[in-house]
């Protein structure tokens, strides 16, 4: 039988993988995708605990996490386009100046 601990272990593994990607990758869009992976692993924790505790609060929280992720995607990708227009690169090692 699948318990809530199985889901939380899977969520911990996915979160650690997302952390590894954020720390190692150079491409800013891939880093952004790894952040989405971490957000999704936290969503899995919320929904598994909400289902285990038979309460609706965790799922409402997941709803708001998805709202914030959508807003973050719009603003973050606009930032990357603006950065690419200035420096012709999307590499995080090139993001080392506050102003050109």
């Amino acid at each position: 039988m699948i318990s809530v601990y199985h889901y939380m272990s899977l969520s911990a593994i996915l979160f650690a993988m997302g952390t590894y990607g954020v720390l190692t990758r150079r491409n800013a869009i891939v880093i952004f995708m790894c952040i989405e992976l971490m957000l999704n692993s936290v969503n899995l924790t919320f929904i598994s605990l909400s289902s285990h505790l038979q309460s609706m609060d965790g799922q409402i929280f997941v709803f708001f996490v998805m709202t914030v992720a959508a807003a973050e995607a719009a603003v973050g990708l606009a930032l990357m386009i603006a950065f690419y227009r200035n420096r012709d690169s999307i590499d995080v090692d090139d993001i080392n100046l506050m102003k050109l």
């Binding site: 996915l14 993988m17 952390t19 190692t24 995708m33 909400s50 719009a74 990708l77």
Partner: protein
């Protein structure tokens, strides 16, 4: 049966996450991420949250991933072949593995309380998941809902201002 299904989908999810963090081309990473989102949607259905699975597929796998793929192709990143696309592998591996072991240890040692609420699987199936979520969201969580709408408005304006050539 359910256990085998869980392990199968979990394996696919972890493998897709591995593709996200290891593929050299950003497009391959994006496709792995879409696969992970679908696996998580399957878990949401198994956890009696079908509406969450639906908006996971529509918002994440639909909207956000299309936006990311659109930007990848707009910036023409798929064709660039850099020799080194990672940095700091050793320390990052140590940090993330340590974090994973701490988290797994907490999950193993901790005990989740067995508090009984009124949103059981039977209630979800008889009343309907969307109705239960709507009731909670528009009574208890009305103020955060309105704040989320303001956040989305600010994000729309901010994205337009940032992406324009000159304001």
């Amino acid at each position: 049966m359910e256990t085998i299904f869980f392990y199968l989908v979990a394996l696919v999810a972890v493998f897709s996450g591995f593709l996200v963090i290891r593929c050299q081309s950003p497009v391959n990473s994006a496709l792995g991420l879409v696969n992970t989102f679908f696996c998580l949607a399957i878990f949401y259905v198994m956890l009696h949250a079908p509406f969450m699975a639906a908006i996971q597929i529509m918002v994440y796998a639909g909207a956000i991933m299309v936006l990311i793929l659109f930007v990848i192709m707009l910036l023409n990143l798929g064709t660039e072949a850099r020799k080194s696309y990672t940095h700091g592998i050793v320390w990052s591996s140590i940090a993330s593995l340590a974090m994973m072991f701490v988290a797994l240890r907490f999950v193993k040692l901790g005990r989740v309380t067995g508090a009984e609420g009124d949103i059981t699987a039977f209630a979800v199936e008889s009343v309907g998941h969307v109705e239960l979520i709507g009731k909670t969201m528009f009574t208890e969580f009305l103020l955060p809902f309105e704040i989320a709408s303001i956040l989305l408005l600010v994000a729309i304006v901010g994205a337009v201002v940032l992406a324009k050539k000159e304001v």
